[in-house]
Subunit: 137 residues, 2 copies
């Protein structure tokens, strides 16, 4: 059975990570960019931020959607999202890369389908017809 | 009953939106930044991208985590995430703002708790002690 969907979104919880590493925003950015590259994504831009007194937030915008991370070094915990579209990029490759780099002992994940095409069509009362779409913007 | 968690994350599906609007990356960026402001978030940076032939991707990095959007104008659909931390920012305010601006007829949402503190403590075998945390980075 194959389901048509526009995006796939992995919500990942990384527990028991290397705490020092979770506070190193340059290294976290490097790993997140590498994770995107490993997954064959095309990077548009990355933005990372170190908080006072600690913690890192960051996003890697990719042609195929985004990767985000928020870390709480004091808890050894990071919340990471891998959102991709298209068949060329595999978000699980990026997940596996981050799991190794953060040295997470326990992870939990949920994959959420985004934009289920049958549901979009149903809700639009079958008025959606992507092949005929034109825009003036 | 109150549950201690580090972040709250709303996954929102916006169906039957204004299709022309979903392809206007400048307006989408304006609305997303305003949504963050309405929710009392502090903006770090926003990055938005218009795709060829259509579709917008963007992120607003906030001090309190992030807002992201991906639009498929040809489907009248947008996938929007509202991830916040702390008690000052209410992600539902941002959600409501975007629902109105995108003129979405049907929305679906899921709120996912990120970083449940009891679980973090359990998984760390109670080795986590945030009040004693020090870092050298």
């Amino acid at each position: 059975m194959k389901i048509e969907q526009l995006g796939r979104h992995i919500l990942a919880e990384f527990y028991n990570c290397d705490k020092e590493l979770l506070n190193d925003h340059k290294l976290i950015e490097k790993f997140m960019v590498e994770a995107a590259q490993e997954a064959k994504a095309t990077i548009v831009k990355s933005v990372f931020h170190l908080f006072n007194p600690w913690g890192v937030s960051g996003v890697v915008v990719i042609q195929e959607s985004h990767l985000t991370i928020h870390t709480w070094p004091e808890y050894g915990y990071a919340a990471v999202d891998f959102f991709t579209c298209g068949n060329e990029v595999n978000p699980w490759v990026a997940f596996q890369y981050m799991k190794e780099k953060l040295k997470s002992e326990i992870t939990e994940t949920t994959e959420v389908p985004r934009g289920l095409v049958d549901k979009i069509k149903l809700y639009s009362k079958n008025q959606v017809n992507p092949t005929n779409f034109k825009t003036s913007v």
